[in-house]
């Protein structure tokens, strides 16, 4: 026990009570929020093409995405905060992708999974109906190349996104920075 305070001296429990110092963390509310968000990503079950099979494999038995706190695949955009665009986005699908993105509550994140969403992939040259990169439709946080990317790569992308959430907080990429027009 510390000595009794001298009469007239200011009482400062922070300095004087070491137990208190061990039990209090000083931080920003925002940091705590981001920390929580980071470990509870709810991806949307949004399979477009081949990559969706690898997304399923990532969530299934062997790779078990739940270990990284991102395994709760939701069928509704209104319940999810991560859109993994898994597969080729076509011109017919692009408005729907945008609409689903708009339906997701803020803060929200997106991963462009696979070469097709990164920039058109193998279809970039002669695939007249393929959008040459999903970043023309929605803002993208993480680009994940591969055709299709292996589950390990998707797990890595999600880990990278988690670190980014902590670094930048909130919406990692404000939409006005990307200059994306409405689809």
């Amino acid at each position: 026990m510390p000595d009794a305070p001298q009469p007239g001296a200011a009482v400062n429990p922070w300095d004087d009570d070491p137990e208190l110092r061990q039990n209090v963390i000083l931080t920003k509310i925002d940091w705590v929020k981001d920390w929580g968000r980071r470990h509870a990503l709810w991806p949307m079950a949004f399979g477009l093409a081949c990559c969706a099979m690898e997304m399923m494999a990532t969530a299934a038995t062997k790779y078990d995405l739940d270990r990284f706190g991102a395994g709760v695949f939701r069928a509704s955009p209104r319940q999810s905060d991560l859109m993994i665009v898994a597969g080729t986005v076509t011109h017919k699908m692009a408005p729907r992708v945008r609409r689903l993105w708009d339906q997701m509550p803020d803060p929200k994140y997106s991963i462009a999974m696979g070469a097709c969403t990164v920039g058109g992939g193998p279809y970039v040259k002669y695939g007249y109906h393929v959008v040459q990169g999903v970043d023309q439709v929605i803002p993208v946080d993480i680009y994940l190349p591969g055709c299709p990317p292996r589950p390990e790569a998707l797990i890595d992308a999600i880990r990278k996104l988690q670190f980014r959430i902590l670094e930048r907080g909130g919406n990692t990429l404000p939409e006005d920075e990307t200059g994306v027009g409405a689809a």
Partner: protein, 412 residues
């Protein structure tokens, strides 16, 4: 889309026959009304247009189905496809034959090896390329491994559609090991480009064959487990038996192929009836729909059951092929730039989902003049416009799931 209200009489399977009219000639709206009378005279319903998809877990990708419902019944239905149209045919006209094969993988991405097999056969036939015998065996073995993987996925995901999550996780155990096998031989887990024009990319190694043996044994051992979880499960049987009937006449008229056709009682499998590659050297059965355990010809249950039995037949084929496999090269001598002579060709082969057809017109240049692919899922999903009329909404999910479509192949 709950199961509540699914059996209005609270009855068993036999009683539900009254309500499912699918498979007969399309019921007119009035007959839907008549059936509705059975549900309850006091219940007034009005027509509602319901839009399922393109983002919906039950549509297996980006299928969009617009249905007009009358209460719980589907009165009219229209599938909208094309959300994944990736221009494979245009690309076929623009890139050399060698470069086109990877695009074929991506059409039916759950059965990439089978796709490659048929497309490579078409180009070889057009160009007069002789494939070494060992390569043919490699192709058959790898295509059958792919068929098992595809059917495992179909079995697991069908459970997922009907609300059973466990079989999905169980099948992924075997599927992952099978994908590792294909990964070790080709370098890709899902899309391979292993079968190439003139042969296959590389020969099997001793270690790989050991791995394959172990995997085949584990699939054989685990199949009864899946059957316990799904096929013999009473809930599953009630969800699928007598549901989504596609009878023989309807199936032929719509061009349904694969398990859907065989479930309707048509004893037809291209591997046996029009043998391509070296399929004529193996003994295997073609499972056909029957009303054995539950259900009747052409219902969802039979389509599922056929997939289960086809896995067993594939195991047989692989084992026979491994025993018969001759020594020799696995790749023919191919020129650096391959040109097919003038002409046209149509080749089809049995994919896990049905018959894939590849039609090529060549004008003697390194690229094709016109390539056209017949994706089996295209016809298999078209048929639901007719058979889904008059079913209940929850049964529609069972019907679409039992057709096991891959949208990449519907839209190509």
């Amino acid at each position: 889309m709950s199961d509540a209200g699914h059996t209005p009489g609270g009855g068993d399977v036999a009683e539900r026959d009254v309500y499912t009219g699918a498979g007969e000639p399309a019921p007119s709206p009035s007959s839907v009304h008549e059936r509705q009378e059975l549900v309850g005279r006091d219940l007034r319903t009005e027509e509602l247009v319901l839009n399922i998809g393109p983002q919906h877990p039950a549509t297996h990708g980006v299928l969009r189905v617009v249905i007009k419902t009358d209460g719980e019944f589907v009165r009219e239905l229209e599938p909208h496809v094309g959300n994944l149209h990736r221009c494979a045919e245009k690309i076929g006209e623009s890139v050399p034959y060698y470069q086109w094969l990877p695009y074929v993988d991506r059409m039916d991405y759950l059965a990439a090896m089978c796709n490659e097999h048929v497309a490579a056969m078409a180009i070889e036939k057009l160009g007069g390329v002789e494939v070494p015998e060992r390569a043919e065996y490699c192709r058959v073995i790898i295509a059958e491994v792919q068929r098992i993987l595809s059917h495992l996925m179909a079995i697991g995901v069908y459970g997922l559609d009907l609300g059973a999550f466990t079989p999905f996780l169980h099948q992924f155990r075997e599927r992952e090991r099978g994908m590792d096998l294909l990964d070790h031989i080709s370098g890709g887990r899902l899309l391979y480009h292993y079968i190439q024009i003139g042969g296959v990319k590389r020969d099997f190694s001793r270690e790989w064959l050991d791995e394959l043996d172990a995997w085949l044994a584990s699939v054989e051992r685990r199949l009864p487990e899946y059957n316990t979880l799904l096929l013999n499960n009473r809930v599953f049987q009630q969800r699928t038996a007598h549901i989504g009937l596609i009878n023989e006449e309807t199936a032929k008229r719509w061009g349904v192929t694969g398990p859907g056709l065989r479930a309707a009682g048509v004893d037809w499998d291209l591997r046996r009836d029009v043998p391509y590659s070296v399929y004529d050297r193996f003994e295997f059965e073609v499972p056909c729909g029957e009303s054995g355990i539950a259900g009747e010809l052409g219902d969802c249950f039979n389509r599922h059951w056929i997939r289960v039995r086809e896995v067993e037949e594939s195991l047989k084929i692989i084992r026979q092929a491994l025993a018969q496999m001759p020594e020799g090269p696995t790749m023919a001598k191919m020129p650096k730039s391959f040109k097919a002579p003038k002409g046209e060709i149509y080749v089809r082969g049995e994919n896990p989902r049905g018959e894939l057809g590849v039609y090529i017109v060549s004008d003697g240049k390194p690229t094709a003049y016109r390539i056209r692919c017949r994706g089996p899922s295209f016809s298999n999903i078209a048929v639901i416009t007719e058979v889904a009329r008059g079913t209940m909404i929850a049964d529609l999910v069972a019907l679409i799931g039992s057709q096991d479509i891959v949208l990449g192949e519907v839209d190509r």
